[in-house]
Amino acid sequence: MYRSHVLVCGGTGCTSSGSQRIIDRLHKEIDANGLTEEVGVVKTGCFGLCALGPIMIVYPEGTFYSMVQEDDIPEIVSEHLLKGRVVTRLLYDETTKTDKIIPLNETNFYKKQHRVALRNCGVINPENIDEYIGTGGYEALGIVLTEKKPEDVIQILLDSGLRGRGGAGFPTGLKWKFAAQNQADQKYVCCNADEGDPGAFMDRSILEGDPHAVLEAMAIAGYAIGASQGYIYVRAEYPIAVKRLEIAIGQAREYGLLGKNIFDSGFDFDIELRLGAGAFVCGEETALMTSIEGNRGEPRPRPPYPALKGLFQRPTILNNVETYANIPQIIVNGPEWFASMGTEKSKGTKVFALGGKIHNTGLVEIPMGTTLREIVEEIGGGVPNGKKFKAAQTGGPSGGCIPAEHLDVPIDYDNLIAIGSMMGSGGLIIMDEDTCMVDIAKFFLEFTVDESCGKCTPCRIGTRRMLEILDKITKGQATMDDLDKLEELCYHLKENSLCALGQTAPNPVLSTLRYFRDEYIAHIVDKKCPAGVCKALLQYKIDPDKCKGCTLCARTCPADAIIGKVKEVHMINPDKCLKCGACMEKCRFGAIYKE
């Protein structure tokens, strides 16, 4: 029995900032101080506050240390663990704003959050099935297999109002109902863990922090629709998640929670892992199934829908990781509990990966209906460096940019679509005044051009033509005619593409055109980039009032574009200037500016 537990985050963010070295050092120092029998070290999943990693919490006090370095460990062990004195300099500064240390769940980052899908992340050791069982894990599977009929399970999901967390928001219970109705010799349950939206990492964090929740939910799904085989399609770029899933599947088999005759109910269910190979389109359901079958991951036309003909031409359901993570708790706590959270048509919570130009980057889970302003200003701590908020991007390459005027819209599936974006898988990237909206639209089109599978013409060729026009705009070579063509192309792609990748590819362009059309016009008519991003439209200049003639810029310039003598005002030759910005970085007097 330990008197104290030290929880260290072993998510990808904190692992990248060195948490494994911290864990190794902790073990060493704890041994050296003779505390091996008294203090336990647990490697957990993500705490959410990735910006301040590596993160460590000491229980029972709940002391939250942030940005811990390996060299801090001897002090933490000898002061805190041995003598009981908190190392105040390493405390998360939000907890020390008053002279009393406040609990973590009262800090701005955590107090508006409500953790359902993430409930075990940062709490349990994900590599130990006993810890999951200790927090009520596999209870839901037990209830389902021993007390419920398959149709009861589906009814519970329908009553809960749970909608798919992968993006489109289709009611999960309905999906299951369709698959349950179709008769076949074999059915399949698939989990979409091919989190392709660049900037979203909630699925990875759930798999890393609470893998058993997904396995349990998949087994429940198997029972509900009559399937005995499950597949998890996970990105190969997530090595930690893959490893923990392998461990979790092994332990669940050992405990008889996967395999034959689970809970003596006669129900068989097993799960296999399949690794993706870096194709964004494989997040689309039919493409994902084609890929599991061992083919090029190209989408198939629907209908037939996967509920009728999915993987290996058998009835299949495919749900996203976060969707699954909600299900065991819906079973245990009842559908009314889940439906009590959220808005009228979007129940429960949603996890967002908060990133970009914001103080607290990391993972947040909020009840549906929370406003964007609460997320950005309160939980996220606002935009750093005194810059102004410009837009929030949701839904990744399929979504759109939400401007400041819509910050007070309560977030749910339908509201986000109404303002020209979408929920998507939950990436939430904050942009400030230094972000050029045309450049961002171009960035996403580059992504879709790259990731278009090439099967259907509107997407393969349409995205490329759109990118070319956007490229012309950012170089100041476009006309207003081009802008009309761009918009027209958007509608063609939306109507005629085979799958969601092409149908939603124009969204970043349409939403920026809707809210930031003046920026497009500035590029086209005035040949200016208001945010100062598009290099072809920029000019670096020297303010003669501020220049002291120190020659530093001229010596720094790689292109010899700066002329001027010592103690005389310098000038930049625009014909030679490469617009690399090196001079501006080096100038000590702030005399160089761009326009």
Partner: protein, 164 residues
């Protein structure tokens, strides 16, 4: 895209081939086994040249054109060998808005190669990647499996020097 090392002759060893045959035997009766076989084959050889695809085709009976189609579809499969140190710069959204594009450009300049290429000495190869999921540390790059976060252009020389 022109790649500088595309003419490197195939130099697979007997051990590598034995390892591959073992993998194929273990997996070939599974449904949809091609992807896992290719992934393991790339682990063994570091890349998937035609010679390796041919072995897989002979052993599994899957036609070459299908194997080649799958290999060229997925960005993680490569027909050319990578450098000893594989650099990938994240150009996901979170990293991009925090300036990873500048990091990528600076690396191309310093290494004298464009993305997708390998330096002539076989030491470094450079690729852009999509989101390694460390968005909290943006901008991020990886050298083999080591992640470097909160980068600025000035950090690059120091990081490259570690591998010289």
């Amino acid at each position: 895209m022109a790649e500088k090392k595309s003419t490197v002759p195939f130099s697979g060893t007997k051990e590598q081939e034995e390892a591959l045959l073992k993998v194929i035997n273990e997996l070939k009766d599974e449904k949809g086994a091609l992807m896992p076989i290719l992934q393991k084959a790339q682990d063994i050889y570091g890349y998937l040249p035609i010679e390796v695809q041919k072995i897989i085709s002979d052993e599994t009976g899957i036609p070459m054109e299908k194997i080649y189609g799958v290999v060229t579809f997925y960005s993680q499969f490569t027909l050319n060998p990578k450098g000893k140190y594989r650099i990938s710069v994240c150009l996901g959204t979170a990293c991009y808005v925090k300036g990873s594009g500048d990091i990528y450009n600076a690396l191309m300049e310093k290494l004298g190669i464009v993305g997708g290429e390998c330096t002539p000495d076989g030491k470094f190869s450079l690729d852009a990647c999509r989101c390694v999921g460390a968005c909290g540390l943006a901008p991020v790059m990886m050298v083999n499996d080591e992640v470097y976060g909160r980068l600025t252009v000035d950090d690059i020389d120091g990081i490259l020097a570690k591998y010289e």
